[in-house]
């Protein structure tokens, strides 16, 4: 009898618990819709898919730590100028203008009348302080500005920066450094570890509230172009550590602006609210097949040309990015973003079509002929290739699978190698790899794109680590074109040098460029319009860098 009562009471308890939980869950799921005043139609609140939570956000608004700072920092701090990642045009922010007095001297004119969010004025002294802070603490200098700068000084409203060597395109990197307030940061003991939880900036928003799962920014009423800023509040709910859940969230319409790859975007996103849901997937970078140029036969330009001509890049692009983006141009430029720099003498905009006959001829010049279905060299051995890439970059993996299939059909024994990112990185940086998938370009500035990939000064010997030019390309003519471009101040000279680089890219094939990697912008026009799109490509739809600032100054109420 006792046991029976125990059993009964245990059952009663369990049922009671479950009922309570059931009741709370109904209440809970209602209150869990994030930013209820946001995407659901709230007039003044903008909800942006936020940083990866992992799963809780760590409060860090230090703009000099781009890998740890929260994305909202881009709306709190501003740089001197913002450079469009699409075509490299400058938009003035804290500088009202800039010019090169000579290829080694850059002068910024500082904007007047700007105040920090605590009321103190923004001056040239802050600019000086910021750059000198980067010099004092190299860990903060993620873009390596002091590798090219030799001195900085200020007179009146002008800040003058001298370079060690002529490097006109580097102005883009210098101009995009966020400006820090001297009166706050001069008393910070260790700015490298400083998390800056009470950020003082010149930007359109200040920090409102912070919770581990969401932070909110409030509009800064004394912002120097406050009339251009429409949202009164910006919410950043944290992403889950589970990418699928994030996609489900985006698909449920929780955000005004999200950055996320969605398969079948027309069905999984647009169809859910056809009136308001839009997307724009412009090219953001190029994905290519890198060949280790220290190894034979990759050091033979004819072999590389043969590979390039053997590939059907359209199919590769389809497999990799499901038709969202297309084949990449072998000019090295992202098209149509950088159309203005495209060398018109390049055939078909640099797009290389699959051409079996031409490929065979190229391979023959390299000493490789088809024998019994195998591409065999002068030593009698079949050509083989192992392509390495991180196993979780799914579009790279899909592209490489197609590449290996296509190469097999021309008789090359091609295989994929799929380690984790760390091993992939080790292989490419040390130069021990055979072939590798990798990214190329995407900074919006042709000089930086080409320089990072082709400048022989980066081509460290095999065994010494390098991130740039890890394929170890060396060409005196390319180096000379690069330094010409670095010191060119007028557009005509810049075009000459850029065209020369495109020709080298096209004829030398240091990298076999395959397809464009996408920038996955997903928008809702329920509350705001003015998003970047194919008809108005003023920036890339990335919500994790200073494109945030650019977009927020373009938004209008819908």
């Amino acid at each position: 009898m006792n046991a029976r009562r125990y059993k009964k009471s245990a059952l009663v308890c369990t049922v009671a618990m479950l009922t309570a939980v059931g009741a709370s869950s109904c209440a809970g799921s209602n209150s869990s819709a994030p930013g209820a005043a946001g995407a659901a139609g709230g007039a003044t609140s903008l909800t942006i898919e936020g940083d990866a939570g992992n799963p809780a956000l760590v409060e860090n608004f230090n703009p000099m730590q781009p890998s740890s700072a929260l994305h909202g920092v881009n709306l709190i701090y501003e740089p001197l100028e913002i450079v469009s990642p699409i075509d490299g045009t400058f938009t003035p922010f804290l500088a009202s203008g800039y010019k090169f007095t000579d290829p080694k001297t850059l002068v910024f004119t500082i904007r007047q009348g700007v105040k920090w969010s605590d009321g103190k004025p923004f001056t040239a002294g802050d600019v000086l302080f910021t750059f000198n802070l980067l010099k004092k603490f190299p860990a903060l200098d993620g873009n390596g500005v002091w590798q090219h700068m030799s001195a900085i000084s200020a007179t009146g409203t002008d800040v003058t920066i001298t370079f060690k060597d002529p490097n006109v395109p580097f102005a883009a990197v210098i101009a995009q450094t966020p400006m820090l307030p001297e009166h706050v940061w001069s008393s910070v003991a260790d700015p490298v570890k400083f998390t800056n939880t009470k950020p003082i900036g010149t930007g359109p928003f200040t920090l409102g509230t912070f919770a581990p799962t969401q932070y909110a920014l409030q509009k800064n009423p004394s912002y120097w172009q406050a009339n251009k800023i429409v949202p009164q509040q910006v919410l950043f709910p944290a992403q889950a550590s589970n990418q699928n859940t994030n996609q489900l969230d985006v698909s449920s319409g929780k955000f005004d602006w999200a950055y996320n790859f969605l398969p079948n975007v027309k069905t999984t996103y647009v169809a859910r609210d056809p009136q308001h849901n839009t997307y724009w997937f412009p090219p953001g970078g190029t994905i290519g097949l890198y060949l280790n140029l220290t190894k034979a036969p990759y050091n033979d330009v004819n072999f590389r040309t043969g590979i390039s001509l053997s590939l059907d890049r359209t199919t590769i692009a389809n497999k990799a990015v499901n038709g969202y983006l297309g084949q990449a141009s072998m000019s090295g430029l992202i098209l149509p973003n950088l159309n203005k720099w495209l060398d018109p003498t390049l055939a078909n905009q640099g797009l290389v079509k699959q051409d079996a006959a031409a490929a065979t001829a190229a391979f023959a010049k390299a000493g490789y002929t088809m024998q019994g279905g195998k591409l065999v060299g002068k030593d009698g051995k079949q050509a083989s290739m192992s392509i390495v890439m991180p196993n979780n970059f799914s579009d790279w993996v899909a592209a490489a699978t197609e590449v290996t299939n296509q190469l097999k059909s021309v008789g090359i024994n091609a295989t994929s190698d799929l380690p984790q990112y760390a091993q992939y990185s080790q292989q490419i940086q040390s130069g021990s790899f055979n072939a590798a998938m990798g990214g190329f370009g995407g900074t919006g500035t042709p000089y930086t794109d080409f320089n990072n990939a082709l400048n022989s000064s980066f081509a460290a010997p095999v065994g010494t680590s390098t991130s740039n030019n890890f394929e170890r390309f060396k060409s005196a003519s390319v180096d000379s074109s690069l330094s010409q471009l670095a010191s060119a101040t007028d557009p005509a000279a810049q075009q000459v040098a850029t065209s020369a680089l495109q020709q080298e890219m096209y004829t030398q094939t240091p990298v076999v460029l395959l397809y464009y990697g996408g920038s996955w912008g997903l928008f809702s026009t329920k509350s705001f319009t003015g998003w970047p799109s194919a008809s108005d490509p003023y920036t890339l739809p990335t919500n994790y860098n200073n494109a945030l600032l650019t977009v927020l100054t373009h938004l209008k109420k819908s």
């Binding site: 994030p34 740890s68 990185s425």
Partner: protein, 327 residues
């Protein structure tokens, strides 16, 4: 040596062995943690520059000291609860990161274990008592099937149907976004609603251990002489089953508890990931993908030690509950 002293000594030695094993394991890892940090930057396909790599190396401090001195400082750090700074969360110490996640896992795992124990035991008693009949088959086959469901798979299906399609439960997290954890009843209800789906997933897949343990105990006990004797004396089978058999069979089986807890902890690693639940399991997955030395080391240690402590406590309880052990 008394039973108690022996158990304590064993506990201490096992503790030391687990700590040392935990030190040895991460040292076998290939690859550089700096590259993992750069992976976050490089995931869009835009190449990482030399300048960025250098800055992160200066910031994250790649270890390059000898093995023995590492072990010495490792032990010292364990004693002072200093687990270093993680590469995934460089703004706070590992101890802080784990400290935030620990209560969530403790609650989820603890409550799930209790529910699994209660429900499983009740079902096991029922099945053992009604042995051979259809009720028994339903319970045993049902719990066998449930135990064979991969926990993450069950979680995914429940997430899809109950959270995404029918909107009955939240899609992710331990609580609603924008809320700071506090001790109010509203927060408590909110947290509960977020833990229903992961909790139910864990309970369903962990039931069978208890069901079968109890069922077998019941069957064995029902075959004992004193039960036959009681029946011969005129007591009804049902009375005997519940008053004598169930109570004797209810004695917590330490091994079964240890195995069940291990299964729930293991299951929680994947289930927390599926539901983005802010516990230790989720952190472990993040740490592994990031090749995050300090975080991984600390997490594995905390998880192993929690299990050790839990089993030790149950061991002590067992001494109190079973007089036969005390001699």
């Amino acid at each position: 040596m008394t039973y108690l002293t022996r158990k304590v000594v064993l506990f201490v030695i096992t503790l030391w062995a687990a700590i040392t094993l935990n030190f040895a394991l991460p040292r076998l890892m290939p690859g550089s943690p700096v590259d993992a940090a750069l992976a976050k930057l490089g995931s869009s396909g835009i190449p990482v520059t030399n300048a960025e790599r250098h800055a992160i190396e200066v910031q994250l401090g790649v270890p390059n000291t000898g093995l023995l001195s590492q072990y010495g400082s490792y032990l010292k750090n364990i004693a002072t609860l200093n687990f270093g700074t993680s590469y995934s969360f460089p703004s706070e110490t590992v101890a802080q990161t784990i400290g935030k996640a620990l209560p969530w896992t403790l609650v989820l795992v603890g409550v799930s274990t209790i529910f699994a124990f209660v429900i499983g035991t009740l079902l096991g008693v029922y099945a053992g008592w009604r042995r051979g009949r259809s009720a028994d088959s339903v319970v045993t086959l049902g719990s066998t099937l449930f135990a064979a469901f991969p926990p993450f798979w069950l979680g995914l299906l429940m997430l899809y149907v109950l959270a995404f399609k029918w909107n009955l439960f939240p899609l992710k997290g331990g609580y609603a976004p924008g809320v700071t954890p506090n001790l109010s009843p509203a927060f408590f209800l909110d947290a509960m609603s977020h833990s229903v789906l992961p909790g139910v997933t864990l309970v369903i897949t962990a039931l069978s251990g208890w069901v079968f343990g109890m069922r077998n105990n019941m069957i064995n006990t029902l075959g004992e002489d004193y039960v036959t004797f009681a029946e011969a004396n005129g007591l009804r089978t049902r009375t005997v089953a519940l008053m004598y058999a169930a109570r004797n069979a209810l004695l917590p089986n330490v091994t079964a508890f240890g195995l069940s807890l291990g299964a729930i902890i293991g299951g929680s690693v994947l289930v927390e990931g599926v539901f983005s639940y802010p516990g230790l399991g989720n952190l472990l997955y993040v740490a592994v993908t990031n090749h995050d030395f300090p975080l991984m080391q600390a997490l594995f240690l905390v998880i192993t030690l929690s299990m050790l402590v839990a089993i030790f406590v149950v061991d002590l309880l067992y001494v109190r509950l079973d007089p036969r052990i005390r001699q």
